[in-house]
């Protein structure tokens, strides 16, 4: 979501580094095609992607494991803590050695778990490959989950979980996930909550690692400035002795709840001066064949600065700094959300306005000029999305996990162009909700409670109460 913005000092740097890298194929062909890549599987089942990119002498390695928060069971935070702890020591390196060696070479590295997956990523200067690779191998294949390092991390995490609530914008998504999905694993808060994190031990991490970090359902993408044949040999050598364990156990599937009326969760923040809100419901799985068409419609509704939501709430009414909408697509379903915030006294005005805009999508629909503008916009912004080695590596690992291929990229512009007004009507009716909505608000309950009851069946919470 774009905004004409004041950038807090610390964010300016991030801003400086946002951008796009270069895809050499673009010069000859104005239609964006995914650069050439190679995909192969090792004997142990590990899937590997290699893609050369020679703009700068950097290499990004990104590994994906089916080890996300949906495997947490009732121990919220387990997947996340396991991913964090991969860097806390391995067979050949202590935590300190890993950090010092990688940082001395200037490399950047991270690990983390999201709803369905865990990822390890590393970027480094290509001449350091042979120094970096043994570390990558070690943290992926032989992490030790050092107890004393984990206990320190856990202690910090417990405090940070409390501190997270000091930034309502950062936690409202967890409230929404839990309120919408209920006990379905997609509702698990990725960060965990204090009472569950408190009980997790280093040996729990090891058990979780053994169950979900296995070559058979994992992949590694290497993108950057290297020669593929040589890289292929290096990767084979690095991972061929990682023992196959059989496919990970998948927890039994729970059904996704459904609701026959609108519901609202009001989270009370007693000193709030603004209300953060999400209005949404279930969305689509990542492999939905209408994925691209849905993105075109969402661009118009809430995916760009001139989108209807931002135009109404921000540009026309001056109620907020930003309003938008989006689909977060997961493996078996996803979410659709409208997000914004406004000063406490404008809460109802802003929410009513957002609902009006959503309704307009169904009643008025989209005209030719708007559709054409959205098509141009989404096509114009498309190539830059997949231009850095990091974003390409991420894309390749997503292709693996969500089971789609480069035709998604290569046919993107064609799919966008083929949208007709008729098609927009179908897509809107099928995928954009108009009722039975889920509302989550974080704000000053004493001032807004009575007015927001009208949106649906009310549940109340206090922001300071543990969890979501």
């Amino acid at each position: 979501m774009k905004t004409k913005k004041f950038t807090p000092a610390v964010l300016i740097m991030t801003f400086l580094f946002i951008g796009w890298a270069i895809s050499p194929l673009m010069a000859e062909n104005p239609t964006f095609k995914l650069p050439k890549y190679e995909k192969f599987t090792l004997k142990n089942g590990l899937t590997v992607y290699l893609m050369e990119q020679h703009e700068v002498p950097l290499i990004t390695v990104s590994a994906l494991f089916p080890a996300g928060a949906d495997k947490d069971g009732d121990r919220f935070g387990l997947a996340s803590l396991t991913a964090d702890s991969l860097f806390f020591g391995s067979k050949n390196f202590s935590k300190k050695q890993i950090e010092e060696n990688l940082e001395f070479l200037g490399a950047s590295y991270s690990s983390g778990a999201s709803k369905e997956t865990a990822r390890v990523s590393m970027s480094f200067v290509n001449t350091d490959t042979d120094k970096i690779f043994p570390i990558i191998k070690d943290i992926i294949q032989t992490p030790t989950f050092d107890q004393s390092e984990f206990e320190k991390h856990k202690k910090r995490t417990l405090l940070e979980l409390e501190q997270d609530k000091e930034q309502p914008a950062g936690v409202i998504g967890y409230y929404f996930g839990k309120f919408l999905f209920g006990n379905h694993p997609y509702g698990n808060p990725e960060t965990g909550i204090p009472s569950t994190v408190e009980k997790i031990t280093a040996s729990d991490l090891k058990t979780f690692y053994d169950a979900y970090y296995r070559p058979e359902q994992s992949c590694i993408a290497v993108v950057g400035d290297f020669q593929a044949p040589r890289m292929k040999e290096k990767i084979k050598k690095l991972f061929e002795d990682w023992k196959a364990q059989g496919k990970p156990v998948t927890p039994e599937t729970k059904s996704i709840p459904s609701y026959d009326k609108s519901r609202i969760l009001l989270v009370d923040k007693k000193d709030a001066t603004e209300t953060q809100f999400i209005i949404g419901t279930f969305g689509i799985p990542r492999n939905n064949p209408d994925y691209v068409s849905i993105q075109v419609i969402n661009t118009i509704l809430g995916g760009r600065f001139t989108s209807w939501l931002n135009d109404a709430l921000r540009v026309n009414a001056g109620l907020t700094y930003g309003a938008g909408s989006g689909f977060d697509a997961l493996k078996s379903t996803g979410t659709f959300t409208i997000n914004s915030y406004t000063r406490t006294e404008f809460t109802v005005k802003a929410i009513d306005m957002a609902l009006d805009v959503l309704n307009r999508l169904h009643t008025t629909g989209i005209d030719e000029a708007t559709l054409s503008s959205a098509k141009n916009y989404i096509k114009g912004m498309y190539p830059p999305r997949y231009e850095t080695a990091g974003s390409l590596a991420n894309l390749l690992t997503s292709m693996f996990f969500y089971n789609f291929d480069e035709s998604f990229i290569n046919n993107f512009q064609q799919n966008v162009d083929s949208m007709s007004i008729e098609k927009t009507k179908e897509i809107i009716a099928k995928y954009f909700p108009k009722d039975k909505l889920t509302f989550v608000l974080i704000g000053k309950a004493s001032e807004i409670l009575e007015q927001v009851k009208k949106y649906g069946e009310l549940t109340e919470k206090d922001l300071k109460t543990e969890g979501f």
Binding site: K4, F6, L58, E103, G106, A107, A272, Y377, P384
Partner: protein, 442 residues
């Protein structure tokens, strides 16, 4: 003021590593020309994707404000999107997005930057839109009022969601007594609610002159085409008298200053700021290296000691960055559970004193150089990184070419320089300490 490690200094490292950089941008790849009205253009052709960008930097930020109009530079930035003569309210965004482009903007203490990204086939549209608003911004009363609401929401959400921001703003208000860096870019709430259209009009006339701006374009463009379009859309805009320079100099600090911020936070937050010279100072390079040694990465001094080994903090670091006038070198940390804030404060001083007494190691120096090189490559991976590098260097160092002359200055920095500079600036009398915690002690 960009409170983070200088990206520009990473470029200084460029020539230290010439062998691997042969394919990278060189000084001679950057072309430039100046229009008759004084507006300067920098062009870097990069035809690998059919996209390009235009970055416009105006030399105006919150340092050009005074009480009563604080935050006006930022408000002005917003108003630049609200209609001009040829293209009325909303049209700037509607036309740009329909042409496949997008834009954003940001305001800092020193500059205001406008950034456009677009398929190169839409380049003339971008010039037309940008030329129109620079020549004839409308500043309609109705738009002023609705944008005031947007900014008020931005003000509220900023403080509502960031302890860091609240503490930093309180700290700066105490660290500076005279210089305009003492207020934040967003401004005081009462000023936000009371600016007048006439204030904006005056601001436009003083600062939004072609001779007070530079333009950088990187991507699928040619110098010839850019020049032709610049002459068509920007050259007719008349030059104006140069703005009066900001002459206020912050007086030397004469003793430690402390500020308390009462907020119901889970554990105390602390910031410690020392006055340091501006980016143009010869000492800036050594300070930047010092900042990296202290806080870049988990093996950095502050993180590894305070967070990992002693477990006194859950987060800790330090930052400084480019600025036109002398600025601050700031340490920050959040107490671990049940750690008294004085303990954490003293532990930060211990780390500072270790540098002053024992200096840094060869390996730490080399680590910073390796890191800067990596960051430099990251920046040069994207056409946006390139555009921002060129603009930032030109603005903060006075000449983009200096970046290619700088390696010598960088190489010259020794362990002794770093030790000396730490001793020179990290003095008790030069610091301001800010503490945010639940209740102030009686």
């Amino acid at each position: 003021m960009k409170h983070v490690t200088s990206i520009v200094l990473t470029m200084m490292l460029l020539l230290c590593f010439t062998p691997v950089l042969s394919a990278m941008t060189k000084a001679e790849d950057i072309q430039n020309f100046t229009l008759k009205n004084g507006m300067k253009f920098f062009v870097l052709e990069d035809h690998s994707i059919p996209n390009a960008n235009m970055y416009l930097f105006f030399k105006v930020g919150s340092r050009n404000e005074y009480p009563g109009i604080t935050g006006l530079s930022h408000f002005f930035e917003h108003m630049m999107f609200n209609g001009a003569k040829k293209y009325g309210p909303k049209m700037f965004d509607n036309i740009m997005e329909a042409a496949g482009g997008a834009n954003n903007a940001y305001t800092s203490e020193d500059i205001t930057a406008y950034t456009d990204w677009f398929p190169s086939s839409s380049m003339e549209t971008i010039f037309d839109l940008e030329g129109d608003r620079l020549a004839n911004l409308a500043l309609e009363e109705k738009m002023v009022e609705s944008e005031r609401g947007v900014i008020h929401s931005e003000y509220t959400t900023g403080y509502e969601n960031s302890n860091f921001r609240l503490l930093l703003d309180e700290l700066r208000a105490v660290a500076f007594t005279a210089h305009p860096y003492r207020w934040s870019v967003i401004g005081y709430e009462s000023d936000i609610l009371n600016w007048q259209r006439s204030d904006l009009k005056r601001y436009f006339d003083i600062y939004y002159a072609p001779n007070n701006a530079i333009a950088v374009m990187v991507g699928d463009v040619t110098l010839e085409k850019v020049k032709a379009l610049a002459e068509k859309y920007f050259e007719p805009i008349p030059a104006r008298e140069a703005p009066r320079p900001v002459h206020t100099v912050e007086p030397e600090q004469r003793g430690e200053k402390r500020v308390n911020v009462n907020k119901d936070v889970t554990s105390p937050n602390i910031m410690i700021a020392y006055h340091i010279p501006s980016s143009q100072s010869e000492e800036f390079v050594a300070l930047d290296i010092l900042s990296s040694i202290l806080s870049d990465g988990k093996s950095s001094r502050i993180y590894s000691t305070l967070v990992n080994d002693k477990q006194l903090a859950v987060r800790a670091g330090a930052f400084m960055g480019e600025s036109i006038d002398p600025s601050l070198f700031t340490f920050f940390a959040i107490c671990a559970k049940d750690v008294p804030v004085e303990t954490l404060e003293n532990a930060i001083y211990d780390e500072i004193n270790k540098i002053i007494t024992d200096g840094v190691t060869d390996s730490e120096l080399q680590k910073v150089k390796n890191r800067k090189l990596f960051n430099f490559y990251r920046g040069m991976e994207t056409i946006n990184g390139k555009a921002d590098n060129i603009g930032t260097y030109e603005i903060f160092y006075g000449d983009y070419k200096k970046l290619f002359e700088a390696p010598e200055a960088y190489k010259k920095v020794t362990k002794e320089n770093i030790k000396a500079i730490a001793a020179k600036y990290f003095k008790k009398s030069n610091r301001t300490v800010g503490i945010m915690q639940k209740t102030e002690e009686k």
